[in-house]
Symmetry: none
Subunit: 502 residues, 2 copies
């Protein structure tokens, strides 16, 4: 078989895997949005069947043969998108085939039961009943790390699953530099006499208006509703199902307006990335998002750097006042803008502000490493959590539901995943600097409701590359500088020094 | 391998096919309810892939071997449900193995895109843009008939897909007997001086109240919303996705209240059947509905024989008056009940009354036969439709949206399907007679809002049998008489002779 035929069979194989996975995505989306409660068990059977089929196709020996043939071909220019497709598909294939089927099945069972145990344990603050599952899952993740292999420490193998090329050592160095500047900023803010009136956000905000304005804002920043939609889910997410079909979800609280609004902008940021992928390359790495960290850079950029900017509210606040006259007619723009930028130490990661959010991530990163190295026993997690929390935030969680039981991730086997959230914030600030360097100051455009230049710059410089470059290489290539905490810190200071009169 | 192991492998195989098909159902439901328009093409690819996989599993030679082994076993009692499972699975296997995979995939793609073309063509009355899809689909259905084989005419092969054991000839004979009595009844009604005031149904009926009352009525007759839901779709349907998950759809017109209300009861009737299937037998013929005709007997029974009965409105009219005070406070129950039983020649099948409805079916039956035999070109459908319509109804459709573009069926490849609607009316009346013979007169219970005896009788006598008996055998077994048009005609006379003073 010639190179062209081999490459075509390879692409068709990947595309079939992707299309089947996208069926799983539709069922997953439906499970979180519209599934009747009686259908839960059958849905698990459907998803179990599909994921088995997807695994079989992803580890099909024929795919291994095609990869061998393509890797040996001299028709593949090392810098080409095709070479990147072969390289990344090889990574995926190797990883999938290195995991023994027994381990995959045990992990699937442990995380399925572990999530149920977590769901029951959390409201009861019952760490003890979750502990055996955490032990089991940590043990399996350690096995996974050994099976996959790593250069330095086992945690590297887990990090690399979610953030290609990231290592424990480099992440630790970046986080340390960030922490050194973040902690004093958070302290200065807490000590400032200029505190915003966040209570105005807890007035009555009718849900139908929240929905209308969320849709309007998401569309304004560039999410295309002809190729996507917005629904309600208990745990909001964005699902890029396939070309032309990207689903956002959010949840509404009539008495807390920022949740759905910024949540919608956040998910729309993910969605704009999905909609910016190269549909011609669908199913191949070239048509897939780069990494979780890069994905998060897009959502956090639109949510925070755009959505919480003064310029955005110069444009949008009139609509908010008109939509919520009872809540906002007596609230000046300055007051509102300060309120949506409230910084305050808090227990729950998903409710944290722009400044303290990254500290929540570092805490988890610092616990996950010794869990995987074996230096921290799962039984000792609650004490270690509370000790670290006090060190970072000056507070001790009132219970485990506000402490080490708050996140679903560990029960779902997602260890090594948290760091991608903070990496996303770092990438986002650095990419935003690069966008401003290329496009000039964007505030005037935002204040006029014009977001297209930024969106198109991201389409061109980030989205269309797919997985061609590794995450930090992409950031360095686009910004011309290695990844650093400085762009994020500069941006935080620029906003919060002013708001808090530092 | 012993009988027990063989039978277990056989059931597991069928269950896997059913589970994979149920994934297809979720995607099909989503396509009609929530799919963004940009996702249409990818949805076609997803459905094409799944239907190919379902076809592969349904025609897996291993299934053929298992069927051979089981058929030869003397452990299978000829009258047992297990024997019925083997017999019906054999029918399905034989049919499926006769269809080439290419044809199945082409059909899936053509009908997915064809439905979207129909959705766009209908509001524009643009038959020309739909015609190429109709041509493609008719060509594929003719190929299907040849591949499957038939005794008499190709149309038999299509009919038999939806109504096991039905033949063009016997359906024609039954329809002829029905037509001979229906046409004079319709004429007598049209000539009656006692015409109801149907204009009261075209007052303003707020959609949110329509939805609430539709949900209430569907629940009252026995549809379980913990195991199902109700959404909006352009062409309403019921999708029994799997155990515990059955989806109804309807559409609302603020200025025409019967459409959504009786539509919801109709789909709930289908849903009650799906929810009444034996979940232990999921995936096997014993856990599957008997036929489309029997399915329709359930929907039409709840919609018409129950929902349009005087007893039902004795129970429900107070709720209607309270929900729609502006429209109904001056309307007595008699007037309302007469209005929802208005008989009038009309263009739209799904809006047709109980009397003229079957004439709409006969028209389609008479066009489908020459389409499949090749005697009628798809291009000539609009003219043929209008000519026949005038012959039956004395009217010519004002446009194609009110004529040959009104139904989704052909765009979805459902040719040979329409006759099952009229068969359903015949089965329904005959089964309802049997229920009354067993339970006594049901009117007093309905007037008190009690529908459980009828529902449980249907669960026991119809639903739980699955596909154990062929449709007409089931009707005969339950009613003690061969299928006849007489129960339906008796019931129509009993209602309409009174309402129209005949």
């Amino acid at each position: 078989m010639g190179f062209a035929e081999t490459y075509e069979e390879f692409v068709n194989h990947l595309r079939e895997v992707a299309t089947l996975s996208s069926c799983e995505s539709v069922l997953g989306w439906d499970e979180q949005t519209y599934l009747p409660k009686g259908g839960v068990e059958h849905r698990a059977n459907q998803l179990g069947l599909l994921s088995g089929m997807i695994h079989d196709k992803s580890t099909d020996p024929r795919l291994g043969e095609l990869l061998e043939e393509l890797a040996g071909s001299d028709e593949l220019d090392a810098d080409s998108p095709r070479a990147a497709n072969v390289r990344e598909a090889r990574r995926d294939f190797d990883r999938a085939t290195k995991l023994p089927k027994r381990l995959v099945e045990e992990m699937s069972k442990a995380t399925s039961l572990g999530q149920q145990a977590w769901i029951e344990a959390k409201p009861k603050n019952d760490f003890a009943s979750f502990q055996p599952w955490l032990e089991k899952i940590v043990a399996l993740k350690r096995e996974e790390a050994e099976a996959v292999g790593y250069d330095d420490v086992p945690y590297d193998a887990l990090l690399d699953t979610y953030e290609t090329g990231a290592s424990t050592q480099t992440v630790e160095a970046t986080f340390a530099a960030l922490r050194d500047e973040l902690v004093p900023l958070a302290k200065a803010i807490a000590d400032s006499p200029n505190q915003p009136d966040a209570s105005i956000l807890e007035r009555e905000y009718p849900v139908d208006v929240q929905r209308t304005l969320g849709l309007e804002a998401a569309e304004a920043i560039g999410f295309d509703f002809d190729r996507g939609r917005l629904d309600v889910a208990a745990h909001p997410f964005c699902s890029g199902i396939g070309p032309g079909d990207c689903r956002l979800t959010t949840r509404y609280d009539e008495r807390f307006v920022p949740m759905a609004f910024f949540g919608t902008l956040h998910e729309a940021g993910h969605g704009i990335y999905e909609q910016g992928l190269d549909t011609e390359a669908y199913g191949t790495p070239a048509g897939h998002s780069c990494s979780l960290g890069v994905h998060e850079s897009q959502s956090r950029m639109w949510e925070n750097l755009v959505g919480r900017s003064r310029a955005f509210w110069d444009y949008f606040y009139g609509r908010f006042q008109a939509g919520f006259p009872a809540a906002l007619s007596d609230v000046p723009l300055d007051t509102f803008h300060a309120a949506v930028n409230t910084v305050r130490p808090s227990f729950i990661r998903v409710e944290a502000d722009e400044v303290t959010y990254n500290l929540h991530i570092m805490l988890r990163f610092e616990l996950e490493q010794p869990l995987i190295s074996g230096d921290l026993a799962p039984a000792d997690v609650p004490a270690a959590w509370n000790e670290k929390f006090e060190a970072y935030f000056g507070l001790v969680p009132e219970d485990h539901a506000h402490g080490c039981l708050q996140d679903i991730h560990w029960s779902a086997g997602l260890i090594g995943y948290f760091p991608t959230y903070a990496l996303g914030n770092l990438y986002g600030a650095q990419l935003f600097d690069a966008a401003e360097a290329a496009l000039g100051d964007l505030d005037a455009a935002f204040a006029a409701g014009t977001f297209r230049p930024l969106k198109e710059w991201l389409n061109e410089n980030v989205h269309r590359h797919g997985r061609r470059f590794q995450p930090t290489d992409l950031v360095e290539r686009v910004s011309g500088k290695p990844l650093s905490h400085e762009p994020l810190m500069r941006r935080l200071h620029a906003k919060f020094d002013h708001l808090y009169g530092l």
